[in-house]
Amino acid sequence: MVARKHEQHEPMLEGIDASLLDIVDHVLTKGIVITGDLVLGVADIDLVYLRLSAVLCAADRVLGDSSRTRASAKSRARNKTATAPTLGRDVIASKMGAPRLRRVKR
């Protein structure tokens, strides 16, 4: 019974009707990201609420290898293609998401 169920669903996951562009769009721009919240405040008063997104990946995929950064900065500026993942340290590279306001405590 279980085996039959699997047979029923397997072709559905196989039978994708999509172009390479679709696959690239999904694989490169979607997928799990780590999100978090941050509240900036002064003197115990919450002022600004920020929603953060962090992509877990090698630092030099996002920031570029520090030893090569200066040398390749010009060439990267000329060639704005996607940076390929290279050897790297393990960090959480964070980027700011869309800021959202939060009610201020009084």
Binding site: H9, E14, V27, K30, G31, V55, C57, A82, A84, L87
Partner: protein, 239 residues
């Protein structure tokens, strides 16, 4: 620490997906040597281990296709119709320790339940925006601040009345929907990309509903549907 343990600690783990159960034997018949590591009480990262000095995959068309194919394979191995799988974005790589530490802090249980047993369909909406009647500003409600009013107006502006027929027809079959509003210079222009999270048991009914409802769409609008996808657009985990 033995030399082998040191090499393992220095190795990097390239993640394809995070699943709620251990999946083994995925490397059979493929060049990839997929393995899974435990990153939480009921969470496993499935991926490929790379030596410290090995070259990581570059985003070429062949590698991207393989990435998607492997995620589908993992999804089938993780239970198919009952699978809870969070696809990782291309390029997610870390040491085992970093993965365990970071993913261990996330509420993966909620993230798994959100996508369990579901696949994603992607609907690209092309065409012209239907002409809006005179811009109607919502009067602010009594208990509403200016920010809430602005958000409500913005929500109305980004809604897609052009595919209302499709949205209505599929409403009961969709667990969750999200819209990316995009504009491109293509002809006809891309209005938006809509993602539907659909339970696998309802997928056939969903496809049928979409096929019928597309005939009711305005002539200025066309839609293209792709899928089923692993739930790429719904893979999120919060601390």
């Amino acid at each position: 620490m033995t030399a082998r343990a040191r090499a393992r600690a220095r190795a990097r783990f390239y993640v394809f997906a995070i699943v709620d159960r251990r999946v083994d034997g995925l490397g059979r018949g493929m060049k990839s040597e997929l393995t899974s590591i435990r990153v939480g009480p009921h969470a496993y990262a499935v991926g490929e281990r790379f030596a410290e000095d090995a070259e990581l995959p570059k985003p070429t068309p062949a590698v991207v296709l393989k990435h998607d194919r492997l995620i589908r394979r993992i999804m089938r191995a993780a239970g198919g119709s009952s699978a809870a799988l969070l696809p990782a974005r291309f390029g997610m790589v870390a040491s085992d320790a970093a993965l365990k530490k970071t993913l261990g802090q996330l509420d993966l249980k909620a993230a798994f339940e959100r996508v369990r047993g579901c696949v994603q369909y992607t609907i690209r909406v092309h065409g012209k925006r239907t002409k809006k009647k005179k811009k109607k500003k919502h009067p602010p409600l009594a208990a509403e601040g200016p920010g809430a009013t602005w958000l409500r107006d913005r929500q109305a502006a980004t809604a897609l009345p052009e595919i209302e027929a499709l949205a209505t027809a599929t409403a009961v079959l969709v667990r969750e929907a999200s819209i990316d509003v995009r504009t491109t210079a293509t002809t006809p222009p891309l209005l938006a990309v809509v993602f539907h999270l659909v339970e696998q048991s309802k997928a056939r009914a969903w496809r049928s509903a979409v096929a019928k409802s597309t005939q009711l769409l305005p002539k200025t609008v066309s839609v293209s549907v792709t899928g089923p996808w692993p739930p790429y657009a719904f893979a999120e985990a919060t601390p």
